[in-house]
């Protein structure tokens, strides 16, 4: 299917829930957050669309906007050989439905988005940090998270105090 046909098929089924369409380079459709699961199910199952392959899920932070985050999905159809990008925005405390029930691959992708941006997914089987340690504070890919911190030095200082005699730490020995 070409871009126009894909847009038409989705528009027919969800006339109310599409917020934005951009087809300049890659086909991008922005949809309402609370409809994401039913739209995803439709994309996966509808004859002609058959987006059977989840390429990627990515979170983006726009601190200046009222609904702060974007979740961006990239889908691809191995059967039909076409691609689509789906977007949904949500505010700081809001939840978005997990699509793990449609594509198993979403499990880790959503954990990564949660880990690095703090976006929470509803009905996710195991929403835990994946790349950072469980006790990590903050979400590094948020725009207000600093690039360089003295976290490492603080940690080292703490460890030195615990394991080395006081004279060594103070540089007297």
């Amino acid at each position: 299917m070409n871009k126009e046909e894909i847009i038409k098929t989705i528009k027919e089924k969800f006339p109310e829930d599409i917020e934005e369409i951009d087809k300049t380079i890659d086909l991008t459709i922005k949809v309402k957050r609370d409809k994401i699961l039913s739209i995803c199910k439709f994309l996966h199952d509808a004859p002609g669309l058959e987006f059977d392959y989840l390429v990627d899920i990515c979170g983006v932070d726009y601190p200046g906007r009222p609904s702060r985050f974007d979740v961006v999905y990239h889908f691809c159809s191995i059967k039909r050989k076409h691609r689509i990008r789906l977007k949904a925005s949500l505010g700081g405390g809001e939840f978005i439905s997990s699509v793990e029930s449609v594509w198993k691959a979403a499990n880790w992708y959503e954990r990564e988005v949660y880990d690095l941006l703090g976006i929470k997914f509803d009905n996710h089987p195991n929403l835990q940090r994946i790349l950072l340690p469980d006790e990590w504070e903050g979400h590094p890919l948020r725009k207000d998270y600093p690039l360089v911190t003295d976290e490492g030095e603080k940690w080292l200082e703490e460890k030195l105090k615990t394991y080395l005699p006081e004279e060594v730490v103070n540089g007297k020995l």
Partner: protein
Amino acid sequence: MAEVQELVVNMGPQHPSTHGVLRLVVQLDGEVVTKITPHLGYLHRGLEKLAENKTYAQFLPVTDRLDYIAAVSNNLAYCLAVEKLLGLEVPRRASYIRVILAELTRIVSHLVWLATHALDLGAFTPFLYCFREREMILDIYEMYCGSRLTTTAFRIGGVPRDLDEDLQKKIEEFIDIFPSKIKEYESLLTRNKIWLKRTMEVGIISAEEAINYSLSGPPLRGCGVEWDLRKVEPYCVYDELEFDIPTGRGVGDTYDRYLVRLEEMRQSCRIIKQAFEKMPSGKLMAEEAKVVPPPKEKVATQIESLIHHFHIMSEGFNPPRREVYQSIEAPKGELGFYIISDGSPKPYRMKIRVPSFANLQAIGKMCENGMMMADVVAIIGTLDIVLGEIDR
């Protein structure tokens, strides 16, 4: 009656057969795996955060550190993504050089995979053979760009250097002898009884499951799915070159993935051979003064070019406000860059879609159906993961 107890074994992060710093917590019933939980992040360097704080040109050398076995592929994917963002057309000769180096990288990556995979399963000789041939390709890289692993072989808008006659001769020599070397590996493994017992019917995954788990590259093709981005969405000049997509026997086990990768190495040789025949002469860099710095000779002799060079190198360039996703068929699968530009010289957000991340996720599925502890090692090997790109 004896009490039955489940055993929990911690494997890694420092373990030779986890191919890097992967940690697996394996629950065992006797020798049979009941559950497997991967723990990632031991190599997390925050590359995506770093990308938001570097100009487009500055981030290029960082991409070498993603899949450090096949750095050229990362460079290619990144350059293509930025060029798509800018709407930049690359000269044809540069595209051909890119294809030649990228296919050599596919061979390098598969050689390291075969070497370590076979070593994990107890075959020592293929390791020596594969690293012998890998050395030849690394020498070619060294002749081309001066480094062997972290290559930064391409630039945004083209390639920095031409393939001169010596280099071309060296690559052609390698392509001529390499098929006979693949035969050597095959004589050691393909009909070896121990190899067959260790790989056949191990780590089976069906085509539907593979697609649902977003597998890509040889693990997907090993299930019989004919999916190769070089054919489906041709980039560079792959649409002008002839090659086949191997799909194995269609069982989806470790042996199938072994067959697929061996055949891919042969196909890569075929592609390089054709590329040399069809390669036109011409420019190496696109002519776009705002993005591509002037040639070095001019920078050294003319003040305008020096200023121009300084501008591009220190400030970078401003791409239009838009977002693009561009992916390539890297040796390990679909490698894609999703770049959001806000019009400034630094990307607003860059997401790197790496093949190993999705491929590793399927390890739980592959370890079902009574796989044993020793098979876990075979399955990690057959997925061909690199932690540098999983953890980013």
